[in-house]
């Protein structure tokens, strides 16, 4: 997290699958318009929503995040549809 304080120009958003273990992250958007993406929005992944890392199962297993006061487990395949921004941009 060495770059946390440096001021840098806006960077490309990263995917929720690469959510850093510490620090702030906010949802930028959910990719796609199919039922899965729509459901992710309905679960609360709307722009500006804060997302916290809770834990990750070993061997690229599911990821648990905290958002809107509840915890949700997602597989990497679904998590990568959610784009997020962190103060350090694309360097988790």
């Amino acid at each position: 997290m060495s770059g946390a304080l440096s001021v840098t120009p806006p960077r490309e958003p990263i995917s929720l699958a690469d959510l850093p273990r510490v620090g702030l992250a906010r949802v930028v958007s959910v990719k796609g318009g199919d039922a899965t993406s729509q459901r992710l929005r309905e679960l609360g992944f709307t722009p500006g929503t804060e997302v916290d890392f809770v834990r990750r199962a070993p061997l690229a297993g599911p990821l648990v995040v905290q958002l809107r006061g509840y915890q949700l487990a997602l597989r990497p395949a679904e998590a990568c549809r959610v784009l997020i921004e962190t103060p350090t941009g694309g360097q988790p």
Binding site: R39, P62, Y70
Partner: protein
């Protein structure tokens, strides 16, 4: 019946909102379960009376939004909109929401209010909200939404009386006109602004949950605890249910004997005692085990551990192509495939659910155990291998493993073949740990036991009556001077069942089975638990059914007519393998038919399992002999 109006009210809410607990608190035993027409989605309806009035309640499947992506969500939405054929539109709606997660559920509440029907908001977990430092202005929420808002604690019955009273008069529940139209984003923006206005103090996270998850979801300890959980689960359903099952079995045996002694000697008495009472008995005996199984599943589900167990095994299940939640159904199948298949209802993806149903009967159900016990003690020496471990124990473990490995293998094959692709996204809420309501759990266990008795009971009763007729007709006169046992033997050798057993010899001959084993197979098709008792009749074994050793000893003795053993070791091993794979259970076929709403899948399942069983047993027989 009541004179007053009888409003029809639908309960809707997200999974984990406490909706079912609230439904059970309101309706108690006056609820019934069934299916919605054409789909396999639970339909729970109940009534309650308040003075002269009667209210009908329907508990809709949990849904996160009104944009349904699964079958059960679609049913909820169609019922709410009054679009499901054969189901009348509700007069009013009760939205159930967890007070601690309003930030997520308010947008869906808005969606329901926008339907324009009389609506009431029931906020559950109010006690937990307070305990976690949260404080919401319910009056302000009521003002903003325009509908009554009632805080309840379903598992302790708090607020339920108040809610009952409100439910009598839904006409006055008029949603506000100032609700957000537009898309999901607009609804969440509205919800965030509304929460700002009504929240006096935000709810903090559950510290208990964070601490417990640190242990239960730990990469190493979490896995170990999960293994301990599975061991505990097995231990419980096999050993704790044992005494109750033995007591049931003993009582039914006595009832059958009493019938034989007390009623006049006739074929009707025999039918009643051996066909009806022992037939029903073979089903009722499983009730303690099934009730305990469901009690454990529902308890761990309600307190929050099942979601964690699914999280822990999700990666492993993912390799097979399934997801964590399929595990619970497979685990249950080790007691009996019926509850296992019924438990697949918690799997949201239809393809994952179907794959799980198709392999569930490969898990070694407890009805196979007596058959394995008989065959192993007849054909496997009790020689010690290592310490207390014997050849017999290892063989039994091998048969369990063969079933488990085959289930995984076939699930992988189906998911890579005809059931390829994820039709639903995988996401799973991890709710905070909560203490479940025992009365609600009791009601849910009772409903499942009812389904089991209705399904299995009918099939096995009919099967055992039919089997009795096949074994006892046509009636023949025993030869002069025959002993009682000899006469019974002579009767069976000349019965319809023996004819059928002989007719099956070309099919099962290559597996090493003679007509006597074939009769046992016919019996076990009605229910595997009838295999041992049928074989005991066919081989004219005089000892009690519990005396496995004696019967096993008899099987290896030489047939006086041929000098060959009654059953060869090769045939015994072949029979073990056949039982690992064969779908010898009409009740399972009936339940799969019910759960998949078609004959296609149960027939496919029967076909593939029988084919594998035949080939497996054939290879075993050829190698062993």
């Amino acid at each position: 019946m009541s004179e007053g109006p009888s409003p029809n009210i639908a309960l809707v809410g997200s999974p984990n909102s406490g909706k079912t607990t609230l439904f059970n608190a309101l309706t108690g035993l006056r609820a019934k379960t069934g299916n919605y027409p054409g789909v396999t989605v639970d339909r729970r309806e109940g009534v309650f009376r308040e003075g002269p009035h009667q209210v009908r309640l329907v508990d809709l499947p949990g849904t996160y939004s009104l944009h349904a992506i699964s079958e059960d969500e679609a049913v909820s939405v169609q019922v709410l909109r009054g679009e499901l054929e054969g189901v009348e539109a509700p007069d009013a709606i009760v939205v159930v929401a967890d007070a601690t997660t309003l930030e997520r559920s308010l947008p869906m509440i808005a969606e329901v209010l926008l339907l324009g029907r009389p609506t009431l908001l029931a906020l559950t977990m109010i006690d937990e909200l307070k305990a976690r430092g949260g404080d919401i202005d319910l009056f302000a929420l009521k003002r903003e939404l325009g509908v009554p808002v009632i805080g309840v604690v379903g598992n302790r019955g708090l607020g339920v009386a108040d809610l009952r009273e409100q439910l009598l008069d839904p006409a006055s529940w008029t949603p506000s006109q100032n609700l957000p139209g537009g898309d999901t984003e607009a609804r969440f923006a509205w919800a965030d602004a509304l929460l700002q206005r009504i929240t006096r103090h935000p709810v903090s996270e559950s510290r208990l949950t964070r601490r417990l998850d640190g242990l239960l979801l730990h990469p190493i300890f979490g896995g170990l605890i999960f293994l301990a959980f599975v061991t505990f689960f097995f231990q419980a359903i096999f050993t704790w249910a044992g005494p109750a099952m033995d007591a049931f079995a003993g009582a039914l045996d006595q009832a059958a004997d009493w019938t034989l002694v007390t009623l006049p000697e006739s074929w009707a008495t025999d039918l009643l005692a051996d066909g009806v009472i022992r037939g029903v008995g073979s089903v009722v005996v499983f009730v303690p085990q099934i009730a305990l199984l469901f009690a454990l599943i529902l308890f761990f589900e309600a307190c929050g551990y099942m979601a964690r167990a699914a999280f822990v095994v999700d990666r492993i299940m993912g390799w097979v192509g399934l997801e964590g939640r399929c595990f619970v159904a497979l685990l249950s199948s080790y007691a009996c495939a019926l509850p296992g298949v019924m438990a697949t209802r918690t799997i949201p993806s239809p393809k994952d659910r179907l794959a799980t149903i198709l392999v569930a009967p490969l898990a070694t159900c407890s009805a196979r155990l007596p058959v394995y016990a008989l065959l192993i003690s007849a054909f496997v020496p009790a020689a010690p291998v290592f310490g207390p471990i014997t050849m017999q124990g290892l063989t039994l473990m091998g048969l369990y493993l063969l079933g488990a490995v085959s289930a995984i293998l076939f699930a992988a094959i189906f998911k890579r073949g005809m059931l390829r692709g994820a039709s639903l996204p995988f996401y799973m809420e991890l709710p905070p740990y909560r203490f479940p309501s025992f009365s609600s759990l009791g009601l849910q266990v009772w409903r499942r036991v009812q389904i089991f008795l209705a399904k299995a009971g009918r099939v096995i009763l009919v099967g055992s009556i039919a089997l009795w007729f096949l074994l006892n007709f046509p009636t023949v006169e025993p030869p002069e001077g025959a002993t009682e046992a000899g006469a019974a033997q002579f009767q069976i050798e000349n019965s319809l069942a023996a004819d059928m057993g002989r007719a099956l010899e070309p099919v099962f001959g290559p597996l090493g089975y003679d007509w006597r084993i074939n009769i046992g197979l016919i019996g076990s098709f009605a229910a595997r638990e009838l295999m041992v008792s049928t074989m005991a009749q066919v081989y004219a074994y005089e000892g009690g059914e519990e005396e496995v050793e004696g019967f096993a000893d008899l099987l290896t003795r030489a047939d006086p007519a041929t000098g060959e053993p009654l059953m060869s070791a090769a045939a015994g091993f072949s029979l073990m393998v056949f039982f690992v794979y064969a779908m010898l259970c009409v009740s399972t076929i009936a339940v799969v038919r019910r759960e998949t709403a078609s004959w296609r899948w149960p027939l496919f399942q029967f076909g593939y399992m029988t084919a594998v069983a035949w080939v497996g047993a054939f290879v075993t027989y050829q190698i062993a002999s």
